[in-house]
Structure formats: C-alpha cells, structure tokens
C-alpha cells in the first residue's frame, strides 16, 4: 500500500503533502492518547503507596514513586492461603495457552483451506454452522461441559482446559483463515492440481507461505482469548491448575477485604505481559507478511 501515498503525492504540491502528513500524525497521536489513558491511570496507581491512594487524587501523578506494589503483585500478594503473588499461576496459563493456540490455529488453517478451496456439497452449510457456533454464550456451556469433562475423565486438568479452548476457538480460527484464503485466486490451486500436487502439498507449499498476516491475527486473537479467559479457567480447574486470571481475580475481587488498588493494577499489568509480548513480536510480522506474500505486487 505504501506506493499509493508515494505516487499520488507526486501530483500534489510539496507543502500540501507536508500538511497532510502532519494531520495524519496528529490524528494518529490523538487516537494513541485515547488508547493510553487507562494505562496511564493503571501505571500511576501502581506506583503509589496505599496511603496516597486513600488520601489523594485517584488519577493524579504519584507524589512518591514506589515499586512495592509490583513486587507484591509478582511474588507476595495473597491469592488464597498462599501469598506468592501471580507468579506460581503463570506456568499453568502458559501450559494451557500455547498448546491450545497452536492446535486451534492449525485446525483453523486446514478447515479454512478446505472451505475456501476444496468446496464440496454442504461445505458452506458446515462453515455456517461452525460460524454460528461462535455465538454460543459461554455461560450456557459451563454446566453440560463440566459433565462431559467429568465423563471423559479430564475434569480439573490442564488437558481438559486445552480441550475446551480448542473446541470454542475453532469457529473463529476457521473463519479467519477461510476469509483470508478466499482472497487468494483459485487459479493458483487449479494450476497446482494440474501439476499433480495433492491436498496437503498445495496447502504446505502454496497456502502456508502466504498465510503469515492471518496467522498473526489468529494467534493474537486466540492467545488473547485464552490467556484472558476467566470463566472456563475458574470452572474447569482445581487447586493446582488454576490459570493466572483466577489468581488476578483473587487479588482484585475480594469483596469484604481491604482493597489494595496499587497491587491490583500492578498485577493486572504483569498478567497482561505475555499478551503484550505477543503483540509486539507478532506485530512485526504484519510487515514481514507484506513482503513475503507473493500475491501482492
């Protein structure tokens, strides 16, 4: 897309181009401020002492900066009898999120590939049914799913949680890949078939290399959904398999205890770090996907 602004700019006067450029950056900056506002509140609060929060203005800058809350959130806040912060729960979340994201993304890519380029009778109906499945409210699923997991013998275990996340992620991953793959010309598949390439061969050597941008989008979506999931995490875990959101909830949501907002905010940011990491790293591949894609000129 870069070529657009470049070439069309040639027809504009130089000053007009500069003014437009400035407007563009100002607009982007204003939006950035809107998005950063709550983060500002969270970070400043996490750097205050509890006394200052109690007595001062909630959204002012801290008078005295302290990192105690961060230390507490990571390794000292009580999430129950153990007061070890969110640290011990991180591992559970990682064990759940990584396999679940990988499996659901792979299945979604295959499904999307079938629905977009290997259409058979009824494929569209199957796709619609899977899509509509995205809308089932998770609260509805909890009780029958609990029963099912019990029967399968994986209630309260990490494989059980992975299973649940894969099942309810399938609709979306399939949707993303299907909608990306339909923009790839079907002539490509036809030509490959003429050359004698089979189903998996075409997927592997033609579609996958083109898929980077959408893999990034799907991974971002799935990782965010699974990492931030609380409802499944709290319902289908037991002592020892609880994910980090349950720990965060336990720190933040005690009803009749003393509220430590600074620790809450620090814990929330810490719990979000892996997702943020994924965004920063994966974000690069949007551009990488641009240059790697052979469809794009």
């Amino acid at each position: 897309m870069t070529d657009i602004s470049m070439t069309s700019a040639q027809s504009q006067s130089q000053t007009g181009k500069i003014v437009l450029r400035w407007l563009l950056y100002i607009a982007l900056g204003l939006f950035a401020l809107f998005y950063l506002m709550p983060l500002f509140v969270m970070i400043t609060t996490s750097l205050k002492s509890l006394d200052e929060i109690r007595t001062g203005d909630l959204i002012a800058l801290p008078r005295e900066v302290t990192f105690d809350a961060w230390r507490t959130a990571w390794s000292g806040a009580c999430t129950g009898i153990q007061c070890e912060g969110v640290r011990p729960y991180f591992w559970n979340s990682i064990l759940i999120a990584i396999p679940a994201v990988a499996i659901s993304t792979l299945l979604g890519a295959m499904n999307g590939y079938v629905v977009a380029h290997w259409r058979f009778r009824g494929a569209n109906i199957i796709f619609s049914l899977m899509l509509f499945g995205c809308f089932i409210p998770f609260q509805v699923v909890l009780l029958p799913m609990a029963r099912t997991l019990g029967i399968m013998g994986i209630a309260g275990t990490i494989p059980g949680l992975i299973f649940v996340h894969v099942i309810y992620g399938l609709g979306f991953t399939t949707l993303f890949f299907r909608n990306y793959y339909v923009t790839i010309p079907s002539e490509l598949t036809k030509a490959a078939k003429v050359d004698g390439a089979g189903f998996f061969r075409i997927f592997w050597s033609i579609f996958l290399p083109l898929s980077l941008p959408i893999i990034v989008v799907t991974v971002i979506w799935q990782f965010t959904q699974i990492w931030n999931d609380f409802l499944f995490g709290v319902s289908f875990s037991q002592a020892g398999t609880q994910p980090v959101t349950v720990a965060l909830n336990n720190i933040v949501n005690s009803t009749t205890g003393v509220k430590e907002y600074n620790v809450d905010m620090a814990a929330a940011i810490i719990a979000a770090l892996p997702t943020l990491f994924v965004y920063v790293v994966a974000g690069k591949y949007f551009i990488r996907g641009l240059t790697a894609g052979s469809v794009k000129g």
Binding site: L28, T45, F135, T148, L170, G171, T183, V216, I220
Partner: protein, 290 residues
Amino acid sequence: MTKWLEENTPKLVLAPSFIAVLIFVYGFIAWTAWVSFTRSRLLPRYDIEGLIQYERLFASPRWDTALNNLFVFGILFILIAMVLGLILAILLDQNIRTEGAIRTIYLYPMALSMIVTGTAWKWILNPGLGIEAMVRGWGFESFTFDWLVNPNMAIYTVVIAAIWQSSGFVMALFLAGLRSVDGEIIKAAQVDGIPTWRIYTAIIIPSMAPIFLSAFIVLSHLAIKSFDLVIALTGGGPGYATDLPATYMYAMAFSRGDIGQAASSAMIMMMVVFAIVVPYLYSELRSKDD
C-alpha cells in the same frame, strides 16, 4: 482405496472439527433448550414443566432493560468499532515510520483483563474523579460528563470502554486485509489517474468484503458476550440500567440458583443472534457460491 482417500481428504480434514462443533455447540444448545422448559434451580433437572420460565422472563422488567441495552449497545459498538478500525488501518497504512509502536498502542487494550481496566475506566468516567473534574479544574466550570452515574446514559460509557478494548483488533484485521489486496490493480488505477480516496472506496474496500465478515462476526460475538466489561465498569448499575442479557443470565444461573430462568434467557439470546446473523451469513456466503 487411495483414490477414495484422495477424493475425500478435504471432508476427512473437516470432519473432526465439525463433529466437535455439532456436539459441543448444537448439542449443548439443545440441552439448554430442554432445561429452559424445566423448573431447574441450583442444578439442572429434566422434568418438563412447560413455558413457565419464558413467562417469568417476560414478566421481568430487568430482562426488558437488558434486551433493550443489547440492541443499543450492540448496534453502536459494532458500527463505531468497525468504522474506527477501518479508519485506523487506512491511516496506519500510509507508510508511517512509527507504525510498530502505534499499532501496539492501539492493540494493547485487548491484552488487559477487563477485571482491572474496568476500575481504571470507572475512575476516568466518574464525574468526581476523572475527566469532568479534570476539565473543570482547567477552569471550565460548567463542563459536565456524568454519563457513568446517569441511568439513561450509562450504557454509552459501556460502549466507549468496549470500543476502546476491541477496535484495535479490528484495525489489525483490516490491516491484514489491506496488505493482501492485489498491488497490480492499484498500480493500474494510479496510472489511470484515479484519486486515492476513489481507489479506496471503489477498489480496496470492496475487495475486503470477507474481512468485513470476520470483523462483524468478531464484534457481534463480543457484543453478545460482553460480560466482564459491564461487571467491572458499572456492575450493571446504576440500578440495573446497564444490565445485558449475558449478565442477566449469569446472575440467574450462578448467583441466584435459578438455572431454568437462565436457560430461557439464553434461548432468547440465541434467537436474537440467529435473527441478526443468519441473514447476514446467507447474503455473504451466497455471493461466494456463484
């Protein structure tokens, strides 16, 4: 045998996912439908009692509010987030030097759990603590921004926070879409001297129709399931002015031990979704079939 296998590979690949969805989505919907005709309280029971739960549901003023809010919230949220996401994607696609950083800033709200960002938003939107107090502090004494505490306006604060949270992801979707558009066509159009905005409205945006489908599905899914957001930001208040069907259902099923009632509200929700999504899916998918 190998020939059969070759012909049916696509079906075999799709089959496990399809069976899983059949059981774990449609089977469970059927289960919910069944329970909605019972008098289940704390745990599900299976003796059919007729339409009593639906009668109770429609006699409840709180459910009226919740359903109304779903429409107000859903329409505003989906529209604004989609438009904003598209605008941001187009702006970001202008060869911006700091693209990586800005993109991350727009995306990060999705990373944070609403359990806590809700608290931050609550403070920002609270007239006594947040924006209103700040602007008044600058000397604009008559400035008022009290939506959060106004029962008629509170639902719009939920819209603001929801857009803040998800528009970045929609931007990412559109950005991926923009970058898969065929560059040759665009170059040809530029050579013909077509202005940039026309290239966008006539060529690029129409070619991204499937991405709009993704964005629509993602956003309507978020709208219908919005739960954490409401709980953390308003707790359904003031009163129950910002209750949504999802929060209503959760309250019935888990805080009030009224599972039959929760099931009936879930069924109505599913019907609303069905009425909105199915025509859209139909028109989207049919055109691809031709």
